[in-house]
Amino acid sequence: MRDLTHEEILSQLQALDLHPMDAIDLDEITNRVNAINQAISGLEDPDADLMEPAFVFWLTEENDEPR
């Protein structure tokens, strides 16, 4: 995925009614978004699409004996 530009980030923020305070704010937000997107895009695992993204775990342990 390509990096988003400052203008694209600003446009997306404005669509959400979010407003950076200044150019430094926008620059750092842009760096953060591009870094996160790049890092997530790089995640690879052959089983990733087989995993269901459940949120709550403890129910599966409810019947186990505590150690």
Binding site: D17, E28, V33, L43, A48, V56, F57, D64
Partner: protein, 467 residues
Amino acid sequence: MSLDELTLQSAMDLSSMITKGDLSPVEITQAYLARIEKYSHLNAYITVDYEGAMNAARIAEKELSHGLIRSPIHGLPVAVKDQFHVKGMRTTLGGNIYDKISTKDATVVARLRDAGAIFLGKLNLSEYALGGNIEHPFGVPKNPWDITRQAGQSSSGSAVAVAASLCSAALGGDTAGSIRGPAAWCGIVGLRPTWGAVSRYGAFPMAWFMDTIGPMTKTVKDAAIFHYAIAGNDPKDIYTSKRTVLPFDHTLGLKGLRIGIVRESLDNGMASEHVIDAFNTAMDVFRDAGALVEDASLPLFEQGGLIANTLSDVEAAHTHRHWLREQPNDYDFATRRRLMAASLISGAMYTKLSRFRMLMRRDVMSALHQFDVIVTPAQAGGAPLIANETNLTSKEAVISQFFGLRSHRSPFNLSGVPAMAIPCGFTGDGMPVSIQIAGQPFAENLLFQFGLEFQNRTDWHLQRPDL
């Protein structure tokens, strides 16, 4: 021993003196209040309730003198992170936006109150328990081992207060490492319990499926007692487990138990030389205690920080969406930028991370079927200097600051299993270093078993900062 010197003792040592009638809850409460005043420059507290604490101490003293002992916590002065509601006390969440007098107790607070604890006040934190802010409205919490250094994120005030003996024990919150990180940097014990073991009712949320509340204490024995006091089902938090919470049995040893060292937490520059040395020495202690120590593997370990921090930031961005629109100026600049960035992470990315969270859970559970516990350093290095800027001037700077080295605690948040930081040494410049022990869901008592044996054989937990 003077009263001030007594504040340096563990909570259970104080408890023993109180229940024998050798120590007055009123006097020890006064001693802690005096220290809070004396060391206020550490910025550990946001609110100190002098009157309420003294009233509670007098009631505890009266009850104890009549032979009513509510629990081992009865008469102990404690404090909680200002993320949890305490009836009648101010709650700020460590930020500029929320400031209210609480009308109810969080469940963990109510349970400590029923157990006879005395509340000294509310502790400082990274704003809204997010971690990562630069400007702190109530002062930057300072590491008692070196006040030019950070105390960690976000239960920083809790760690400072325990390490500097400004309370006998504290409660913190841990979503992506916020109990164990500050505990490790400040040289105390910090337990992140199993997700669902402790009620979160009355606590301000960050990421509901990873938020936990746990004790921050001087010793493992203290952590076990405080965890027992706060854990268990609560109808006000539908995700709390209904299983019975058992008290910790101090008499068990480690002979024949299996420890798996997560290799990925040590290799490829994931920990400094001092951290690795202290960690290896700690493993020798476990071997001497009869445990079997072998290598384990969590292939996704280095990705833990990315997965946990991004998921929790996206959740937080949603929680904060109204304030972020209406009062962006009232956030610390780093928090504002972080939440706005998280607001732009796509649903597809979030789903991908959620699937990788399950892969991490699969790997952690697989390792925990092979070993009784798995261990890592609790941190990559000693506490860094207090920062004035984010310095995130490039994409690469963000990657290097926030992923990889930030991963030591995240795999266990993602997996929902309990994990505990225990002091195991110091860096060359005198900053504390800790190991981290993780176990199967609801195996807190097994973690205490390992931790207690370690502290019976070492004296790192007896070191106090020279204030």
